[in-house]
Amino acid sequence: METLTPPTRTREVVEKIRDGFAHAYAGWCRFFFEADAVEPMRLFRFSLGILLFVAYVIRAIDNDFYFGANGVLDVGKMVENFPMKYRWSLLLWWPGKAMLWGSTVVFLVSLLTMALGFFPRVSALVAYLLHVSFMHRNMGIVYGLDMIATFFLFYLCFAKTSAAPSRKEDWSTLLTSVALRLCQIQVCVIYAFSGWEKLKGVAWWKGEAIWTVIANAQIARWQMNWMSNFPLVITLLTYMTLLWEIYFPALIWIRKLRPWILIGGLGLHLGIGITVFIPYFSALMIISYIGFLTPDEARWILRRVKSLIPFARL
C-alpha cells in the first residue's frame, strides 16, 4: 500500500485549491462575461429611455421651483446645509436660467436618443451625468425612481446595444454582458435590502403595512375605506410582499421559478402603481425585469416595438 509523504500530500492540497479557484473563476467568467446580453439590454435601453423621458418632462414643468436660482433651494443654503462632499452639479457651478433650461433640453434629448438607439452609449453617458447633476442640485425631490435610474443609466453607458450579438470577445462584448449582470444584481440588491429593512418594521410584522399605505391620504390614489372590511386580504398582501421581496434575490436565478417570480413582481408593482401615486417608480421596477428575459423573449418584443416605431434602431 502506497503511503503519501508529507510533501506529496501538500502538493495535492495545493493542486485541489488551485483547481477550486480555477473552477470558481471559470464560473465567474461564464456568469459575468458570457451572457447573451445584446437584445435584453437593447429592449431595456429603449424602455428605460422612454419612461425617464416622460417622467423628467413632467419634472421640468417645475424646473424653476426645484432648481432655479430663486427656487425652493437657495444655492448658498444648499451647499451649507447638505453633505456635499464630492457632490457636484452644473447647476451649482452656473446657477443661471440658461444652464437650467439648456441642461434640461440636452438631458431630455439624450434620453430620447438613447431610447431610439442613436449613439446609445454616448447618449446614456450624457443622460447619466446630467441626471446626477440635477439630483445634486436638489436632493429634496429625489425619490426611488431617480435613485434606481442612476444605476441603470450608469450601466447603460457601458453596454453596446447598437450591434448584432457577436461571438468575438472584445471590450464591447464583455462590457455589454457585464452591464446586463450588474443590472440584474442591482434589482436583487434593491429587493434584498428593502425586504430585510422591512423586517425591522412593526407594521410589517403585524400584517398592517399595506393598510398604512392605502390609508395614507397623502400618497394613496383612492379612498379605499372598503378595504377595511377585508383585513385578512391586507394581512396576506403584507406578508406576501415581505416574503416575495426577501426571497426574490435567491429564487430569480432558478430558471423554472423565474416566470412565477416575475409575475409576482408584476402584480406587486402594478398594485403599487395603481393604488399609490408613484406610477413611474412602479413602471421602472417592471422595466427592470427585462434584464431577466431570455434573448428570444426580448427579440420577440423588440420586433413588435420596431413595427410600431420603424425609425427606432432596435
Binding site: 426611488g144 470577445e169 435590502f193 422591512k198 390609508a215 391620504a217
Partner: protein, 175 residues
Amino acid sequence: MSIRRAILSVALVFQLAVVIIGPNKETYHGYLLAPVLEPMFNALELGPNWSFFAPDPGPAPIRLEWEIIDDKDEVVRTGYFPEEGYPYFINERQTRRVALARFFFYSDERHLNVWSSWVCRSNPDANSVRLWKAEGKIPNLFKVQTGEESIETPTYGERKSIGNVFCHSLEKEGA
C-alpha cells in the same frame, strides 16, 4: 487567462463592493471602506439606501406650516406645503412635492435654515416667519370598519414648532 477578463474582474469586484456596501454604510465594513468608496457614492450617486416602505411605510400625511409676521409682530398670513389633495393634473408633480416636504420634515435644522429662506423669499412683506411642522395620522383599520374614522383629507393633529427666523437676517447672510 484573458487579460481583458482579469481587468474587468477587478473593476467588477470594486463595483460590487459599491453596490453592496452602499446601502450598508453604517456598518464596520462601511466605515472601513468609506475613504475608498465615498467618492463613488457621492460623486456618482451610487450609494443610496434601499428602504422603500421600510422599516415601516410612512410617515403619515405631513406638512410644513408657516406664519408670516410683519413689522408690528402680527401674523398677516399663514401657509402650508405641500398643497392639499390632488392639485395637479399630473400627480407626479405632487409626489415630488411630498418628497420635498418629507425632506424638510425629517430635519429641523434644514427646515429652519433652508425652508425659511424660501418662505421669506416668496413673502417679500414678511419681517419674520414662524415655522411649524404638522403630522396627521393613519386612520385605524378597526375604526374605519365601524365607520368611526375614514380615509379622507388628513387632519393634522400633531403640530411642532420649529422656530422663528427674521427674514432680513437671511438677506444679510445672502449679501
